[in-house]
């Protein structure tokens, strides 16, 4: 009788109790809602936000593996854990290496526009002896403020390597793109400048000529700039 009792006790420990599942569920819900709120409320930005939400996903995976799958509980399923970590290693290689290789490919074999964009971001003035057209030092800055659906000033006359900053004072989201409604292009490798809150966005004028811009969501908002 006592061995039987011992047996069932061990059995339920291996497979978890209702309490295990309740704790697992509550932790999982918490770790789902926190990253959701961080993203929706824009409490964090950029890479910090990215790393935080990925961190929460990994944390939640371990919580579910422990509370729902009961991996590592009881003496037996050691080989399951070994197999799991082996697979996890393969996944890191598959996903990590794919991103690494494709990113390199993108940088090294991309069209001129992409090279211009990437080298502008990282301040690389030449690749393989060829100038990239990237500006390493910026000069003057021009501010274009959007108020009431109108861009001010509506025309900017600038020189190469100056910068233009767009600032959206309206509550509506703006997607500034270049060219005209009928002939959409990109500028300096930049397809779109998204303005969905008070945050200003700056572009570097690394391409010479006469350009126009407009809002994809409200094409009546437009303007021009000339780069000497």
């Amino acid at each position: 009788m006592s061995t039987h009792n011992h047996h069932t006790k061990q059995h339920s420990e291996n497979h978890g109790t209702v309490m295990n599942y309740v704790v697992g569920l509550l932790l999982s819900l918490t770790f789902t809602i926190i990253p959701y709120l961080l993203v929706v409320n824009k409490s964090l930005r950029g890479d910090v936000l990215l790393m935080t939400i990925l961190g929460f996903a990994v944390l939640q995976m371990f919580i579910q593996i422990f509370y729902f799958l009961h991996l590592g509980r009881g003496p037996k399923p050691l080989y399951n854990i070994v197999f799991f970590f082996g697979t996890a290693g393969l996944i890191v290689v598959v996903v990590g290496a794919s991103l690494f290789i494709m990113n390199n490919l993108y940088r090294n074999m991309a069209p001129d526009e992409v090279i211009r964009k990437v080298s502008q971001k990282e301040g690389i003035s030449q690749v393989g002896g060829k100038p990239t057209g990237a500006c390493t030092g910026n000069k003057d800055n021009y501010l274009i403020t959007i108020i009431g659906g109108v861009a001010r000033p509506i025309y900017v006359n600038a020189r190469r390597c100056d910068t233009i900053t767009f600032l959206n004072k309206d509550k509506t989201k703006r997607e500034i793109t270049f060219g005209t409604k009928y002939d959409q292009t990109s500028y300096g490798g930049e397809d779109k400048v998204i303005l969905d809150d008070d945050r200003p966005e700056t572009i570097t004028l690394n391409q010479e000529g006469y350009f126009s811009f407009y809002d994809v969501l409200d094409p009546s908002l437009s303007g021009q700039f000339y780069v000497e």
Partner: protein, 199 residues
Amino acid sequence: MTDHSLVIDKEHEEAADDRTMFGFWVYLMTDLLMFAVLFAVYAVLRNNTAGGPSGRDLFSPELALAGTLILLVSSFTVGVAMIAARNGLKNQALTWFGITFLLGLAFLGVEAYEFYEFIHEGHTWRTSAFLSAFFVLVGTHGVHIITGLIWLGTTLVYIVKRGLNKPIVRKLALLSLFWHFLDIVWIFIFTVVYLMAFV
């Protein structure tokens, strides 16, 4: 003597259970590798929108959260159902597995609604590499959910007709493992596909 052979029988049975579990676990890990490849493809292609809409334009975070919460709760109910099944409580097990089934259907409904909206607006898998990768990754998960629901549905009919016996409890254990696994994969789809579109 009889007592002794009973213990040996039980040990044999548990060893067989363990082997079955391990075999299924190996299957899950290979399935996970397939998902890893699809995740890699999605991660590489997520910005290649070819002038079409990006994830930021298309996705609704509320809808994705709703689907995630439904699937999370279903992962909980399948666990509770499994405890009832192991203790031989047929009606309790049927109730909790039934709830799991309905939650699975609800999740599938959310996903189908999202797909329908995208396609209805003209954003299909042919629009861009981003959308191809999206439909394949999320669609593959959806096919797994459909498989799980068919498996669960037929098993429930079996339990109603023949009751809870040892082999069926073993099958249910595999099914619940499968369901938890799909929930974990979804957590990463929720994060990498839906949340990361808004970063």
